[in-house]
Symmetry: C2
Subunit: 149 residues, 2 copies
DNA sequence: TTTTTATCAAGAACTATTCTAAATAATATT
DNA sequence: AATATTATTTAGAATAGTTCTTGATAAAAA
């Protein structure tokens, strides 16, 4: 079952004496129930529909706690606000420069993302990030439609 | 001849009615004469040694103009301040989490960096960025030395 | 020269994010 | 249970990198 379809309100262990509070749960649920990559402010807006009393500071706190606990991912693209992602599987991101959408890209089976670069010998690799920028299929289609008018 | 060893004060065309002013030239020279990836503030400090009257705002303006003209690269890693790079050849970046150094990584010949991901069909790819995080060779060595004490 | 356009510089403004401090709530200890 | 300890939430202040504004300066064009 894909992560984003997991039953909501599932109790998760955060470890390190951290509690899964109602605020953290609702932030977590919002991320797990969406495939897009909302910013903290967008998460805040979505969370408010379920818990109108929550503050933006708490959303930032919760996102950080969840990210440090490793149950959500913080996605940083360029100079833009951080986005958050509930997809824990290793994956890359496609960033559409036309509509600003961020979408997950699967990795090809058996191909390490690091295999295209000459890793510095003696270095200890912790993480490899691949980011693709361009025009998403939908925007390419819209563009072409415009051409034929 | 590698880009960073080019003769300094080389006159460059910026295109689009833009002038290579003394300020832009000195900012450009600073980037071309270093292999590290300085932030705008670090560039500012280095530039001041040659031109003490320059302002930080102008350094930001110059860096932006040079980057838009495509003769330097803006490098954005995580939430940190932007860094700037005079290496125009396609390359990736290694970011040491211990000493914060950013170094260039060459791409393997004949291997597209995009080959490790399942590109969305119909998308128009403009740029693929690969970022490696971990511990650089020097920091790995320092760490090991500490172990044997 | 006169006019136009580009650039510079200083500081204000902006924005995403973090910090502070007080209130609240959960947990542990007695 | 009562108390003490610790974690969490919250609003707002503070921070930091960057961008914007505006008037001065300089270069280019006419
Ligand atoms: Mn993702
Ligand atoms: Mn570089
Ligand atoms: Zn798009
Ligand atoms: Zn290092």
């Amino acid at each position: 079952m894909p992560a984003h379809k997991k039953k909501l309100s599932e109790k998760i262990d955060l470890g390190g004496g951290h509690r899964m509070t109602p605020q953290r749960q609702v932030v977590y649920d919002v991320l797990m129930s969406s495939r897009d990559h909302p910013t903290a402010t967008e998460v805040f807006i979505r969370v408010q529909e379920k818990m109108s009393s929550i503050s933006l500071a708490t959303v930032y706190n919760c996102l950080d706690t969840l990210a440090v606990a490793g149950i959500v991912k913080q996605v940083n693209l360029d100079r833009e606000p951080s986005r958050y992602c509930g997809n824990l599987a290793p994956h890359a991101h496609f960033h559409c420069e036309t509509c600003a959408t961020v979408m997950d890209i699967d990795l090809k089976d058996g191909v390490e993302p690091s295999s295209s670069v000459k890793l510095p010998r003696g270095a200890k690799i912790q993480k490899v990030e691949v980011e693709v920028r361009g025009k998403c299929p939908e925007c390419v289609r819209t563009e072409k439609k415009k051409d034929t008018l």
